[in-house]
């Protein structure tokens, strides 16, 4: 009984965590390069619409995911141009991106609202691993293919950031761009690439919603998840593997709140993810050491020869 409950929480929590994980991993990379992008919500919703439209037209959900990554990357490119090249206020540019994204997706998505998707993403079982007790049915059975990719991505990013040369370059650009520049790292290029990668991942996060989690398109279906992803990056102290844990905790809490259906009014349940986010941020602030993770140059444009 308790076992079933735990397994269900694990499985459902992860299913809910997947879009948060992708969006958070993307933003994490962008922020590691020193650029904050508050446009995650906007890029996610554009990705969700694009994925649905392409998956619907091509009958291939994977093509939809790819297109979502493309549109997210394109939107992020705009932010990179403003933040890196024009040295504009990164907060405002990101907010503008979110507004334009929500508006455009509402505008172009009207024709698709309420239409079910005939070919959603497949659910996979992982052979062998699914035989494990508890973890098997909780993590490796019947989850969306994208979730597994997300877990692999977190692992890959962790290695990339800490063990590889380009990863160390990326981090140095976020910590001390002047020093990185002096060592011959192209600060602008690295930042562009990191921000564009972040956008592509936000697009994939949106795609998960519209072609896997709930295969359909609804206006505003990201419901603030882009912002929650931003909070997860902070809670995870800019570490990919901790982002997995944070995203999962989040999903699990959400699932547990869902279980209280009938006990509490539904509006309170809908409120919980947002309250959790605040709680998460407070908790990470209380654990002071966590703050060490913030890239030193986060949010500051780099100008050669300026301090």
């Amino acid at each position: 009984m308790v076992e079933d409950w735990l397994v269900a929480t694990l499985a459902r929590g992860l299913a809910f965590a997947a879009p948060l994980l992708f969006a958070a991993l993307g933003e994490l990379v962008a922020e590691r390069s020193g650029v904050i992008n508050l446009g995650v919500e906007g890029m996610m919703i554009l990705g969700a619409l694009m994925a649905f439209v392409v998956a619907d037209a091509s009958a291939s959900p994977w093509l939809g995911v790819l297109a979502a990554a493309g549109v997210g990357a394109l939107a992020a490119l705009l932010h990179a141009f403003f933040a890196v090249t024009l040295r504009a206020n990164q907060y405002v540019s990101g907010l503008a991106l979110t507004m334009v994204g929500l508006g455009l997706s509402g505008l172009f998505g009207r024709a698709y609202a309420g239409k079910p998707l005939a070919h959603p993403l497949p659910k996979w079982d992982v052979p062998l691993l699914k035989e494990l007790p508890w973890i098997g049915p909780g993590v490796f059975e019947g989850q969306s293919a994208l979730l597994y990719l997300g877990l692999l991505l977190a692992l890959g990013l962790s290695v990339f950031l800490h063990q590889t040369r380009p990863g160390i370059h990326l981090r140095s650009v976020g910590e001390n761009p002047a020093a990185a520049d002096a060592l011959g790292v192209n600060v602008y290029l690295v930042r562009y690439l990191a921000v564009v990668f972040g956008g592509a991942m936000a697009g994939v996060a949106g795609a998960y919603l519209s072609v896997a989690y709930r295969p359909s398109w609804t206006e505003g279906m990201t419901a603030g998840m882009g912002w929650i992803a931003l909070a997860i990056v902070i809670f995870a102290a800019w570490e990919p593997l901790r982002a997995v844990l944070a995203a999962f905790l989040f999903g699990a809490f959400y699932h547990l709140a869902y279980r209280f259906q009938g006990v509490l009014p539904p509006e309170f349940l809908k409120m919980t993810p947002y309250l959790f986010t605040i709680l998460f941020l407070v908790l990470s602030a209380l654990g002071k050491s966590v703050r060490l993770g913030a890239p030193e140059a986060l949010g500051r444009p780099y100008v050669r020869g300026e301090r």
């Binding site: 508050l38 705009l78 403003f82 090249t85 024009l86 040295r87 504009a88 206020n89 907060y91 405002v92 540019s93 907010l95 503008a96 991106l97 979110t98 507004m99 334009v100 994204g101 929500l102 508006g103 455009l104 509402g106 505008l107 009207r110 206006e219 419901a223 603030g224 912002w227 929650i228 931003l230 909070a231 902070i234 009014p265 509006e267 309170f268 809908k270 409120m271 993810p273 947002y274 309250l275 986010t277 605040i278 941020l281 407070v282 602030a285 209380l286 703050r291 050669r304 020869g305």
Partner: protein, 354 residues
């Protein structure tokens, strides 16, 4: 392409550039309309006739501008202190909730009811913002995210109230409260749906914030805190106190916008989507366009009010989806920050590489 910093620019240029940015954004929006198969010419004519040929049309523009000016002036104050209040939407809703609560359940009657509602709305909006400000000041919790999360919490709070404990006895299947008593209605300008006290309130509050910011010690502290937190600490500015007051004022202003919406237009608490058309989010643009000058927010609020009212006209006259308004607003913001680059830097093509 290189950017070379330039010195201070004259007032003419610093006015012309944002104006040009807004015009560009409008032009881009007309292009988008054309993409949707609506003739830009037809759209322009419809907007002109809908808003600028009679009092009623123009009053609709003002009605949209009032909450934008109120919330925008408050945000201008907040942004000056580097308090990234993205939560005006939630603060507005909390204001509406508090005003509705007083109107429906306080038992206050007659001439005191409206002031009591306004005060409650101000406090509710202010306290909602204060929560985020205190977390920022004491624990360095990211204010962008907390204020934004509190928006969603506010939305579901309103949803809960109108579906649950405050659901009106006369509402039958619908989710809203009973109608407010007569004494809770703001008077309308004759021949229009515009609650004129809202206009007065918006202008007065914007003026008050400008005075506070530029003519008082408190305002000086706010600006120092925003421009150079290090220096503020050495100068003895108590960051927590200053930030808290800024949050109270900023959230309070948004709360008042909620009060004007329910007491001037709706006369009941109803769906959050109907109380606010995203005024709280859009007010960010109002403040930014005004270069965070509370008094200028009156002008920029009118401008963005125009975008909303034009969206209404286009929806009715040419069946253009209202989401266009959001896109236009986002574009205005993009063009605006792009324009600011040209105020700070001279763009040099080619030449010696830096």
């Amino acid at each position: 392409m290189r950017l070379v910093p330039r010195g201070p620019v004259g007032p003419a240029l610093s006015l012309l550039v944002p104006l040009f940015s807004v015009l560009l954004a409008f032009a881009a929006s007309l292009l988008l309309l054309a993409l949707f198969g609506t003739s830009p010419r037809e759209a322009a004519v419809a907007v002109y006739q809908g808003l600028f040929t009679d009092l009623r049309g123009f009053s609709e523009l003002l009605r949209r501008a009032v909450p934008l000016v109120l919330a925008g002036a408050g945000l201008a104050l907040a942004f000056r202190a580097q308090f990234w209040n993205i939560g005006a939407e939630g603060q507005l809703l909390l204001g509406a909730v508090a005003a509705a609560g007083v109107a429906l359940f306080s038992g206050i009657e007659g001439g005191w009811l409206l002031p009591a509602m306004a005060l409650a709305a101000f406090l509710a909006g202010g306290l909602w913002a204060l929560l985020a400000a205190v977390l920022k000041a004491r624990l360095e919790v990211n204010d962008v995210i907390t204020t934004l999360m509190l928006n969603y919490v506010a939305v579901y709070l309103v949803e809960w109230l109108i579906h649950g404990p405050w659901k009106g006895k006369t509402a039958f299947g619908f989710a809203y409260t009973d109608r407010f008593p007569e004494a809770a209605s703001l008077p309308l300008f004759p021949g229009t749906a515009l609650a004129w006290p809202g206009v007065v309130l918006a202008v007065l509050l914007a003026g008050f914030f400008a005075w506070l910011l530029f003519a008082t010690t408190f305002g000086f502290e706010v600006r120092v805190l925003g421009e150079n937190p290090e220096a503020a600490r050495y100068a003895g500015v108590r960051a927590t106190v200053t930030l808290s007051l800024v949050a109270l004022f900023s959230g309070g202003a948004a709360g008042l916008a909620g009060f004007v919406e329910v007491a001037g237009t709706h006369h009941k608490l109803l769906s959050p989507l109907q109380i606010s058309l995203g005024y709280g989010y859009t007010a960010i643009i109002v403040a930014w366009l005004a270069r965070n000058h509370p008094l200028l927010a009156v002008l920029t609020g009118l401008l963005i009010g125009f975008v909303f009212a034009a969206g209404d006209v286009l929806k009715v006259a040419l069946m253009v989806p209202f989401q266009l308004v959001e896109v236009v607003n986002g574009l205005v913001l993009f063009f605006l920050i792009a324009g600011e680059v040209f105020l700070r830097y001279r763009v040099v093509f080619g030449g010696r590489r830096g």
